[in-house]
């Protein structure tokens, strides 16, 4: 998460209007879900990957790395689609061509949808996402929970890294036995540290008038007409691909 947000923050596409990015990514996703053939999902995969890598300046290596996680789920998910089971007259496991093609088709569509989503999250930091959610009238409770969880993940990583470093500096994790002990210390002090940290954080908020709702100045992004034009043309092209 830290990694993804960092990439998004550094991406040149961060300055693009988040709403346009969201619309672009969702429109493509809808097209993919409507698709009945291979051409459209493959086109979307190519288009979105290309934009994310060239315009978003996300390196191929990082992009591949982040795709590994859903890829695992994808593979696990299509196995039951591909493989047939028969219980009568003993257990039979079989693979049909029909099931195989269906699995592959599903995988390609899912991959295309994931890449659409990745385009958005790899170019939009959490701050902008939260603001978009507000724009689309997402309830404050959900937004603030998301925000606090996000912030605390960052704090958690930070405290973990600090403790880990402190342990390494004094010879922690140098043997297997010692690693186990060090890790148990790390986890327990992490919980204590986090508890204390959340108390302090609460105080910090109250000191500036926190009363249950976090209200901040919105960040400003102007939507670019060029981008609208681009979105419309690509959607028209995809619609054409959908027809044939």
């Amino acid at each position: 998460m830290y990694f993804v947000d960092h990439l998004a923050y550094c991406s040149p596409l961060r300055k693009m209007n988040p709403n346009q990015k969201l619309i672009f990514s969702i429109a493509n996703m809808v097209m993919v879900l409507l698709a009945t053939g291979y051409i459209l999902p493959v086109a979307v995969i190519l288009l979105m990957t290309l934009i994310t890598i060239t315009k978003g300046k996300i390196s191929v290596k990082n992009f591949g790395k982040i795709l590994l996680l859903p890829a695992l789920f994808l593979i696990m998910g299509i196995i039951p689609v591909m493989v047939g089971l028969e219980m009568e007259a003993g257990l039979k496991i079989y693979l049909t061509w029909e099931g195989f093609y269906q699995g592959i088709f599903l995988a390609v569509r899912a991959l295309a949808a994931i890449i659409c989503l990745y385009f958005f999250i790899l170019t939009t930091p959490m701050v902008d996402t939260l603001q978009l959610l507000k724009k689309y009238r997402c309830p404050a409770l959900i937004r603030e929970l998301m925000f606090l969880i996000y912030r605390f993940i960052m704090i958690l990583t930070e405290i973990t890294m600090k403790i880990f470093l402190a342990q390494r500096c004094r010879g922690g994790y140098n043997t297997i036995r010692n690693s186990r002990q060090s890790l148990s210390h790390l986890v327990s002090s992490l919980f204590l540290g986090l508890y204390q940290r959340s108390e302090e954080s609460q105080r910090g908020l109250v000191a500036r008038g926190y009363n249950g709702e976090i209200d901040l100045l919105p960040l400003e992004y102007d939507p670019s007409p060029k981008v609208w034009l681009f979105i419309i043309t690509t959607q028209a092209a995809l619609l054409f691909l959908l027809m044939i």
């Binding site: 704090i155 105080r203 908020l205 109250v206 500036r208 009363n211 976090i214 209200d215 901040l216 100045l217």
Partner: protein
């Protein structure tokens, strides 16, 4: 002498949940528009006192007065509008995902319009030299940058009183000097500034009024002439005597100078020589 007290903590006691007595019948009066310094060893209750001044902590015993008005529990909840606090550990204070939004939190809570908030945020960012960082997420900042953002947080709120808990501790000399310049300007504007510190030498040349704390009590209070005379009491609070004074007394004893008033800073001392 008729003195105007902006904030007055009367007979405050506070126990932490684990039973340690943090404040023991504390009595503190803050003169308006002055530079007040709280000196004292770790754990003497300076930070707890600050949290009471800002209304985050409610006194378990005792009363808080603002401009002579006794505050009810409900009113002391609103003390943050008048008293800004810059925490010792910037991480305690910073929570937002971008610096710009972080600084907007306080003024937004004050109920200002978006235009006004924006103006205050921009001013505060310029004063603390963090304009370049405004779109950065807070967790990508270095320690000193975080500190400066935490100062901007409070400057943007433009409160009457500003509390700084060990402000210079994570600043490099350049930014520490800049902070001092900001404080000087705030002082000229008539703001009341309260600093807690261990740095006796800095405190001695900066402060107008001093509180020396020990074990949740005020051990000693007064102007610099009154406080720094009491060398035995200072020792009791584990504080050193400022080096300027030490030299001054030494020279006075040896009859090398005949200045009636102790010097405040290096320049004054040099003038005497």
């Amino acid at each position: 002498m008729e003195q105007q007290w902006i904030l007055h903590l009367k007979n405050i006691s506070y126990n932490y949940p684990d039973g340690t007595l943090a404040l023991d019948n504390l009595h503190v009066k803050i003169p308006k528009g002055q530079r007040i310094v709280f000196l004292g060893p770790n754990g003497s209750g300076k930070s707890t006192t600050f949290l009471h001044m800002n209304g985050v902590l409610k006194p378990q015993k005792g009363e808080v007065y603002y401009e002579g008005q006794k505050l009810s529990h409900k009113e002391s909840k609103d003390l943050w509008r008048k008293v800004g606090i810059i925490f010792q550990d910037a991480d305690t204070q910073l929570f937002s995902t971008s610096v710009y939004q972080e600084i907007s939190f306080g003024p937004k809570n004050l109920g200002l319009s978006n235009e006004e908030v924006k103006k205050k945020v921009v001013e505060a960012m310029e004063a603390t030299d963090v304009s370049k960082l405004q779109h950065k997420p807070v967790h990508f900042l270095s320690g000193g940058e975080k500190k400066r953002v935490s100062i901007a947080d409070i400057l943007a709120m433009d409160t009457e009183i500003i509390l700084l808990d060990e402000p210079t501790i994570s600043l490099d000399p350049k930014h520490a000097t800049e902070l001092m310049e900001i404080l000087e300007e705030l002082h000229k504007k008539g703001k009341t500034l309260i600093i807690s510190t261990h740095d006796v030498n800095f405190a001695y040349s900066w402060g107008d009024y001093f509180y020396i704390m020990k074990e949740g009590k005020v051990l000693l209070e007064g102007s610099y002439q009154e406080v720094f005379k009491q060398q035995t009491l200072l020792k009791e609070a584990n504080l050193e005597v400022p080096w300027i004074l030490e030299i001054y007394y030494d020279l006075l004893e040896k009859g090398k100078i005949k200045a009636p008033y102790p010097p405040r800073n290096k320049q004054e001392l040099l003038k005497y020589l």
